[in-house]
């Protein structure tokens, strides 16, 4: 008995399709990915894809939105529920979270944002509001708390949460481009955090 040509699974389709799209975009980038290819990967006809996403661009935006926001939610959830000191938090949950990024599917999204972002200002806006600024804000909360506690001295470092994010972006890209020559990204990230914390604490290293 042959497989039925139609499977009705309305609820699951959008997710199945965005997952396939993420994989395809990861492989070839946005422009080089054919809609046909995404449909095939999702085990779905092109027509159905267009039932859920009006255009290829739409699909792209949906991919960005649906995979990135949950991840950042994860981070803020950790902060809110944590009773740790700032240093403990940075060395513990934050470091752990941040190490998972390079090599995870999200790293693909970073590449997509860099490649295609400039063409879609609204998407950048969304990304800024829902990911980057939220991430930086979360870090700022931690750093400020550390200053208030007396754990940290106020300095450029407590002022520039970007310094804590840098190694992640760097690792993602380095790994993407020069897998072979890439240093141990965990070590790189740890080193940066170490250096920054030491600096904030005013310790002799």
């Amino acid at each position: 008995m042959p497989e039925p040509r139609f499977r009705r699974r309305k609820e699951d389709r959008p997710q199945e399709i965005t997952e396939a799209a993420l994989a395809a975009f990861a492989d070839k980038g946005y422009a080089a990915t054919k809609v046909d290819e995404v449909a095939k990967r999702a085990g779905v006809s092109k027509g159905l894809l267009y039932l859920y996403f009006k255009t290829k661009e739409d699909l792209f935006k949906a991919v960005i939105r649906s995979f990135v926001v949950p991840k950042i939610d994860e981070l803020t959830a950790i902060i809110d529920s944590s009773e740790l000191s700032s240093e403990e938090f940075l060395r513990g949950p934050f470091l752990a979270f941040v190490k998972t990024v390079p090599g995870s599917p999200i790293s693909v999204l970073v590449r997509l944002m860099i490649s295609e972002g400039p063409k879609y200002p609204d998407l950048l806006q969304f990304y800024w509001e829902n990911v980057v600024s939220r991430g930086l804000a979360a870090l700022t909360v931690i750093l400020e708390r550390g200053v208030k506690n007396g754990e940290f001295r106020r300095s450029v470092v407590t002022d520039l949460p970007h310094l804590f994010v840098m190694p992640v972006l760097f690792s993602v890209i380095f790994k993407l481009l020069f897998e072979k020559q890439c240093p141990d990204t965990d070590r790189l990230i740890e080193a940066q955090i170490d250096v920054l914390i030491a600096h904030m604490k005013g310790e002799i290293q």
Copy 2:
């Protein structure tokens, strides 16, 4: 019959074309740039462009090669000719050089490498050999010299020259994507160098 005011010499053509291409790629990215558009910008016919570059991909590779190598040559030249201490070098010529990158035309190349690199392994190889590894090697020379001098303690930092490059990559991308919300990149870069040097020197900050 009056002489044309500017007589274009054959030898300049390829460069004129790669410059036009760089500008076009900067505006729209590789895939979205039409060969027609590049030819128009270069003030040249499409046919002539194809006389110098066999394919669009060829042109792309030429762009990468021709703009990036001179820049890295610049850096290594500075190192070789410099009599400064390691710290002086890092805070002086290195910092100065590195600050010029975000916002310069080369930053465009970074985006191009990220977007298109994975499709062209030979280009990545070239980029690694001629840019990244040379840059890291130059830094390593400086750091080792500092350790030998007794200026710096040996540590993860002297071991990971990547830490010195991170803020540049970060700034380039941040500026590209979030121009509006971008922090002062000079300050960001300086902060990182400060923190790293302080750490290597074992000083209280």
Copy 3:
């Protein structure tokens, strides 16, 4: 549980669908009308529509057939039941009937026949047999009766009933295309009939 206020009966369905189709075709023409749209207008699912009409073309043919024949039946009925002289008939019931055409839903059918007819010879055949030739035949009966009566002289006019139909077709099309610049179609139609009758009667106007 309250009775639904309107219970749709199965028997009405085809008619409801052809009505929706006529409206949709009127708006956008045949090719530009989507089956989906017709189904929605009819308050019916696409699947059900296909239960009644095998193809879109089928639906189209049903539309033509179902709206045009009753109209022409109306006209012949008037003729058969009328005791009037030929002139009275032409100036009375015929004129009245004919004036209602431009601006009525049937005028849409005219456009459809002109646009799509050439693709469907069987439909044209049907249209000819059931509408045009019957209409012309009815007119011929009247004109012949007038000649027999001595009301009218025999001439090209009594020979070409088409002359009486011309202003209707003209008005329908003019109104369809140039609503804004369209002359009063009633006046146009009346003028034509006047002129023709005067001619047949041999009167000085």
Copy 4:
């Protein structure tokens, strides 16, 4: 020796293409005509067609414009250069001109305007301004001249130049749809003109 794949004939191309398009539209109507088909008929590649006409719609508009305006220019030229009395003009050059329309390539344009016009208001506007209103104006000039001369009585007929155009539109459409059953269109047109002139002259017929 094989035919050269490329023939450079920049000047002739647009006309060659519009001619092919007119023929294709005549055969199948606008919607059912494939751009591929037009290109093939014109002996040209699809790409080249798109070099001259940005879209299929554009091509359609060009077809309408390029074939219709010359025809109406012809008519107005005849009027301007004629020394005839109004009746002589109507029975002579006007009648002759008007008889050529049904069956000529322009008759195709009439069908196209009816089918597609309502979708392109700007095209209808163009058609109105450059064809219909100019044609009616030309007729009005003739009729007014006849009234001034004393040739004609003023009446609805001198007021409604549309009456003179009606048989042309009617013949075009009748021929298009019911070729087989179509009366002699020359005779139909002549009859209408006869009747109208007789009426304007107030003669007993």
